[in-house]
Symmetry: C2
Amino acid sequence: MSLPKISHTVFFWLKNPDSIEDRSKLVEGLKTLGQIEQVKAIHIGVPASTEQREVVVNSYQVSELLMFENVEDEKIYQSHPIHQAFVENCSHLWQKVEVYDSVAV
Amino acid sequence: MSLPKISHTVFFWLKNPDSIEDRSKLVEGLKTLGQIEQVKAIHIGVPASTEQREVVVNSYQVSELLMFENVEDEKIYQSHPIHQAFVENCSHLWQKVEVYDSVAV
């Protein structure tokens, strides 16, 4: 499978890390981002039950991977009404977020 | 585009962060991982030139995203000879690595 050029990866740490309800609300909100035309692929996840080696980070509660064709599309996404609505509706749920944007080489 | 269920995301901080040669060696090594049958999608990247907001982490030099159908396939990948050869040939290049394994929800 050939992937789009830009990966936008976000990890979320909830204010209430043990709240399944808050996690579900965040997951539901994140899934709306897939409706944005510029989002070519989406993967919303939670830590997988893989081997817990020292280098594995699994302290986050929810992960988001969006893929774009180019950085211009990611810029359009940032100011898209669906993305803005997501931030407005869900940002109270998390205490920390880390974003990694990578371009394929 | 529908993505496989498991995302395996790794960020690398090089021992020589300014060495384009070391970065190229690592990228070249990472690309061999795409030959592994269980790897259904691969994206090897470097920090993109997106807006530098406070939440954006761009201190790493190379990113790796591999996608698997299930955690069993990721386990097979971990002990696959091509993966083992990559670790043997390239692990001297990095000083730090962070791994995030997520399962789609």
